[in-house]
Subunit: 652 residues, 2 copies
């Protein structure tokens, strides 16, 4: 039974809670003990008697000795096995033991148990945490298993530990950060998509930046031990504020919660009375799961969460889904695309504000009656900026002459009907032409455009406006007057694996539009390229080169950089801006998701080592493209991505 | 004119010497000045006036301004251009300048000059050394050029510098090692095969281990400045012992020598007299190239080198050529293969010595007349070990009964004729059978086999001998009695690129037999797997797991590990061994080249950081395979190679 249906959450976004159980040879009974009457949703249960050691089995029995599994496959229905049981692999196994017999026993047992779980069609197995700091043999064995595993997930249990050391001894520090262990394991297994994480949440939590890393990693479950709970004034278990925030993060990132440990909160009689709501104590106690109060508290945390805002709910399906950026210059947009973007009212409100200010600056109040401002909307589409311009004229009492220039003949059809419908024939002239080649009959006071992509210049706004500024007066205004792209390094194992699944270099050298969610932002954004409009200087070039240096907060610990997330911020006019850079993003706008630039080789960053990123905007005669690379840390320097735009480019 | 034909060197192994020239707008004259009458073989000459800056050209000339190249393509014949001229790219270019105009000018010029050199079909261009420690933009531009360069090589000029710092400040140290600069550049260009190195040899040389790194890198030329020469007692230029050794290394690795700089050895009159051999001084001086004495000295160093031993000469064509290892168990060897291996007399001498010792140990002198030793050659092939055994019996006066067991029916044919030809019918019984399934009529005193591959157990000697030891007496002797594999990390950019050229993972997860030459051995060999025979223990397994830690000599500096070279050493019997591990290799043996295990991602090692390698020998029911990975340095941890033997395995 889910932790409650929530308003504002999709059904698919329900959260479940499991419980870790001890070995029991009667699985049906174990299941009924833990799942009955509104209790837990699934159990994490050992599949094999923990005393089993293959080397102790009598050799001469030959094929007749059966491993001591917990019950046959027939004791539960296939759907019970797969929906209610996560297989817990024997926790004694230690594939990196110094003792060869322990290693051999561990390998045999691990393979037997996974094969059994596979036979039962379990959805997941919980792998015990590596015993020491070295895990190569464990990883080798798991990696072998992963090569032929159908759908099952393997959750590697990892304690959520990072001890802060002021010591300079790097080696000892490495051992104290469990992320390092995870990272080492998953690198050995080559980021396998079926290898994920079950975090053991302990009573002490690492610092916030270090915790943040895990949200870019494939965490599927979090095990919360009863001894991580505090006791509230009424004797009930509760979590610290930091733990609460972490659990909220887990809910937000579809991480299953699993309660583990013995009940250690002896509930006071009064508390139970309250909980039982005056129903007979004894009968209640009989049925009541000993860990029910912990489950109730987790359900309470879930219920207490704010519902998702409407926009977020709408965008749920886009989370971490890679899309190719639009090519609006080469291709003509479809009606559906115009429809979507025109609905972004916040964007047009900002444009209208900017146009108002420009009109007022252009024409003083005392000349409003006599002066007509020539405004050209370049890339008018189906007319939303024409409307915003006319509304701005009305709002400011300025008179306007509008040219609506649009290269897409299909959009021009709609423009004509709009102008007719609204009765704008005397004010608006529609020009069906590419702004780069149009010969304007007069020069404009104001040039308005919305040509920005998620990365600002990536839909070739600079090249288009270079063409259009031919018919802008020398003291004319461009709206936007400038825009800047931004990037930040991220951990994004989901995006990385999606790119990798194509098994080619091309996809690693392509930028993707994506609603980023399951990522860890490792450092604040930094500006990359800036373009100003108009730009009448003689030697101007739209080529750019930027070198960026990111320093991770020192308490982050080591982290994996799978790529860079890009954004833009545009100054429409003076103080009116529009953008998606997280720290200054315009609220309630949905026209742009972020852009993701992957790295062919993820770069592992260690504390104190900066990340040096190079970004180029290159221009050819028929296309524009980006190249990028990482040069520091030097031992993980990447190749230059997308040389000559071989994989990804925007056509002129 | 080559530096002389040498006895023992292939024609293709001739060495040439070039000279670096200043800009000259009359290339034919420049050529004749430098190449006439037994002087240099080629020139490294600027292609463009060094005062040229694109940004200073008059803009309004439009297409009419021609870059100031040194002469038209017609002044030399195509073959003169390509055999005698290496294009020297303008040394002022600086693509990583802080000054944007310098950057733009540099990019334009570099692209114009390379395009020109390409038009002339030059074989190579010399790229100026990066100006600072940062070279990303330079590399980006060169990388773009490399994407569409037909055959031309680009030699990046790199000063041969590594300053030893006792300081612990890593950052300052990095700047002082030019290898780091090269490494950064080539990583950005993704190990492009047309990007190579021209080393600037200075008067001070780095320490030996640091120098050694370069022999695993694609060094194509070495520029020796005249001021790196010392002056000998007679006033002539000469090189220090360390420089001489380095130049010998260059000769050995097909690195072209180029003399650069002004003549600074004012030869005394007496010296010239001696040199001119009493020919008229004046006329001699007229024709004499001012750098001739440096050239003569280099030629003298070449002439002085020892000729290649016959075996090396025979193996020249195999240098750094990747071969798939034999599968002698699954496949039957061909006659040619037997022919080659049987010629390796040193190997059979060692076997004969071992068999002698075993026979004497087995049968004391006083029983030699009455006892007959049963010796089985398992995998007898065409009989060389049968012969060695019989010779050992004769040498020691022991009497022998020999079984020759061979699974290849084609070899058995030859065995029968050999036995008949030699009249061994009463001593030798031929068994046409796989030793793993043969039911022997009696038990053996001595089991002799030659089943070893380059990596010892990689041709499944352990599995074969496990089968054969069924018919060995419990106190019987196996020759070999044990064998051990060894590995060492190497820089091997040639091998890495050859593996990479297949563009798949399979080739990166395969081991190759190879006569390694153009490699840098970064650390001494370490033992990996050992097998002892016979092994009658109950729980024996031929699976192995070994974790190895390599520490590079601290004066090496940073280095790139492209993979691991493997060898074996076998104890035939007591103190008689046979092997190819370099420090103990049996001399004059040619049956085995080394084996190379590549890394999918080369690992960059920094001083003081150990390299941790894991190696597994895994056994399935139908095959045996290796898996390997690197776990330290942790930031460059590799995936586990060849999981489940998916790419490379040896069939049982």
């Amino acid at each position: 039974m889910p932790l409650g249906e929530k308003a504002g959450w999709e059904k698919s976004e329900s959260r479940y809670c499991g419980v870790e159980a001890d070995f029991h040879d009667d699985i049906p009974q174990l299941l009924s003990l833990n799942l009955s009457s509104g209790s837990f949703d699934f159990i994490v249960a050992p599949l094999m008697d923990p005393t089993y050691r293959p080397s102790l089995m009598e050799k001469d029995k030959g094929g007749s000795c059966v491993p001591p599994f917990a019950g046959s496959d027939l004791v539960l229905s296939p759907s019970q096995w797969s929906s209610h049981v996560v297989g817990k692999i024997s926790s004694w196994i230690d594939l990196d033991s110094e003792d060869e017999i322990v290693r051999m026993d561990s390998e045999t047992t691990l393979k037997q148990e996974i094969a059994w779980a596979h036979h039962l069609s379990l959805q997941a197995c919980l792998l015990p945490s590596p015993k020491g700091s070295s895990c190569a043999n464990y990883a080798r064995c798991v990696n072998q298993i992963l090569q032929s595993l159908n759908n099952m997930q393997l959750w590697l249990r990892v304690p959520l530990v990072k001890i802060e050391e002021d010591s300079m001894d790097e080696k000892s520090e490495n051992l104290l950060d469990s992320w390092e262990l995870w990272n080492s394991f998953r690198l050995l297994c080559e980021h396998h998509t079926q290898l994920s994480i079950a975090l053991d949440v302990l009573s002490e939590l690492p610092l916030a930046n270090s915790l943040g890393r895990w949200f870019g990693e494939p965490v599927r479950a979090a095990l919360i031990n009863t001894n991580s709970f505090l006791t509230n004034a009424r004797g009930w278990p509760c979590l610290s504020k930091r733990h609460q925030k972490l659990v909220a993060g887990f809910f937000n990132h579809s991480v299953q919660i699993i309660i583990t440990g013995k009940p250690i909160h002896a509930l006071p009689k009064a508390g139970l009375d309250l909980a039982a709501n005056h129903i007979d104590d004894n009968s209640k106690n009989m049925q009541r799961h000993p860990l029910k109060s912990y489950l109730d508290y987790v359900a309470y945390l879930f219920q207490r969460m704010d519902p998702l805002p409407e926009q977020e709910r709408f965008e749920l399906g886009y989370r971490d889904f890679l899309q190719s950026p639009l090519q609006p210059l080469m291709d003509n947009l479809e009606a559906q695309t115009y429809e979507t973007f025109e609905k972004d009212s916040m964007k047009y409100i900002q444009y209208q504000r900017a146009i108002c200010k420009a009109l007022v600056d252009r024409v003083p109040d005392n000349e409003a009656a006599v002066l007509t401002t020539v405004l050209m909307v370049v890339g008018a589409g189906r007319g939303p900026l024409v409307r915003a311009s006319l509304q701005a004229a009305e709002e400011t009492g300025r008179s306007l002459k509008v040219y609506a220039v649009e290269k897409n003949p299909n959009a021009v059809v709609t423009l004509h009907s709009l102008v007719k419908l609204e009765g704008w024939e005397n004010i608006v002239t529609i020009v069906s032409c590419d702004m780069r080649s149009w010969e304007a009959p007069e020069k404009a006071d104001i040039l308005v455009s919305e040509l920005l992509g998620s990365f600002g210049d990536n839909e070739l706004s600079p090249e288009c406006l270079d063409g259009a500024q031919r018919f802008l007066k020398h003291d004319g205004i461009s709206i936007p007057s400038s825009y800047t792209s931004f990037v930040q390094p991220v951990t994004a194992s989901k995006l990385y694996n999606d790119v990798k699944s194509h098994k080619d270099v091309v996809h690693f050298e392509t930028a993707y539009v994506v609603k980023v969610h399951n990522i860890a932002r490792l450092a604040p954004c930094q500006p990359v390229f800036k373009f100003d409009h108009p730009n009448f200087s003689a030697n101007k070039s739209n080529q750019r080169y930027k070198k960026l240096k990111f320093d991770l907060p020192i308490d982050t610990g080591s982290a994996m950089v799978h790529g860079f997330v890009g954004y833009f911020d545009a100054t429409l006019y003076k103080d009116v801006h529009l953008g998606i850079e997280p720290s200054t993003a315009t609220p309630n706008m949905f026209s742009w998701f972020a852009i993701f630039f992957p790295l062919r080789l993820p770069v592992c960053l260690h504390p104190g080592t900066p990340l040096e990123l190079h970004f180029w905007r290159c221009c050819g005669s028929t296309k524009v493209w980006y190249e990028w690379c990482v040069t520091c840390p030097s031992s993980t320097s990447t190749p230059i991505h997308n040389s000559n735009g071989r994989s990804y480019w925007v056509g002129l």
